[in-house]
Symmetry: C2
């Protein structure tokens, strides 16, 4: 997706050779016009799929998932990863390891919002090591629902998340795939 | 806003006499069509204001702020309240007390995303004791920017947040104002 790649080149900040900061438009300040283009692109890529729900993870997936959901006319559910005073006790849980923070955390969705009959599109901002996506797939599996697609804004191909996703039969679409970051230069696949 | 009140009556779950759970449509599962109606209503209520940015707080404000931002054609910035590995060291910080969790936490915005010339509309899901809104006002004040409006989806009038907001000159609009919750019945103002 060219306008996304252009934006990453223009506004992304490479940090060392593994991290790219996109908080000027994707996960702290949010460029809502760009999110709309991203939403349209996901709709186009998953247009032949029946989708009843979009599942994402707080906090940085929420904006992308919501804007995208407007093109699918389905509700969004975001898995919680922080303690939430009001979360139902009755929920699905999965364990996710964060490389960035070097710790395990729980992600949770109340059972009421992920149903056996749901056909779920997973949306997230990054695919790095695939931990978060595998956690979301685990929640869907616990619910007996079906994961029908995974839509990623930025994939870091050098971190092998794609290979590590447990269910390889699911359509996975990344809108910008970064092959490597070398000397502060971002190289797309 | 009648369709919002109808939704709260139909899908909100009163818990004791102070809490109303709206996680089936507002802060866990998200009804994106309803969020669009909310966005349109905020646009209408703040139509005579010049607004350059929408500021909210993770996680539950993000969806509402993003959908609303489409009607104002401005970026969203969400203040972070959880530790974030990648947040700039150079940020504005304020302290917020959470009654629900009975603890203090820091909210932060990177200085790059809140500018002296910004005219800011604050958007949040709830107004209860006004702590979060006062924290956001403090961030805006630190940036030397101007808060031009506060848009709230659900105000709990019995928790006096409105009176406790430090800057009383700012236009405050709540789309549904709950007067009280008695015996499981929600009474609007």
């Amino acid at each position: 997706m060219q306008i996304l790649k252009d934006k990453i080149i223009r506004c992304g900040k490479p940090i060392a050779d593994r991290i790219i900061k996109v908080d000027s438009f994707l996960n702290h300040q949010l460029d809502v016009d760009l999110l709309n283009e991203i939403g349209k692109e996901f709709k186009q890529r998953f247009q032949d799929k029946t989708i009843t729900k979009i599942l994402t993870l707080e906090s940085s997936g929420i904006a992308i998932a919501c804007i995208t959901a407007q093109y699918f006319h389905v509700p969004v559910v975001f898995a919680k990863k922080h303690e939430a005073a009001n979360l139902d006790a009755d929920n699905y849980q999965a364990e996710v390891y964060s490389y960035t923070k070097d710790r395990l955390y729980q992600i949770r969705v109340a059972k009421d919002y992920l149903l056996r009959q749901d056909k779920v599109l997973i949306i997230d901002d990054f695919l790095a090591n695939g931990q978060a996506i595998n956690g979301l797939l685990e929640l869907i599996s616990q619910a007996g629902a079906e994961a029908v697609g995974i839509g990623i804004v930025i994939e870091k191909a050098f971190q092998k998340g794609r290979e590590k996703i447990s269910n390889q039969r699911i359509q996975l679409e990344s809108l910008a795939i970064i092959e490597s970051i070398r000397d502060g230069e971002i190289i797309f696949q």
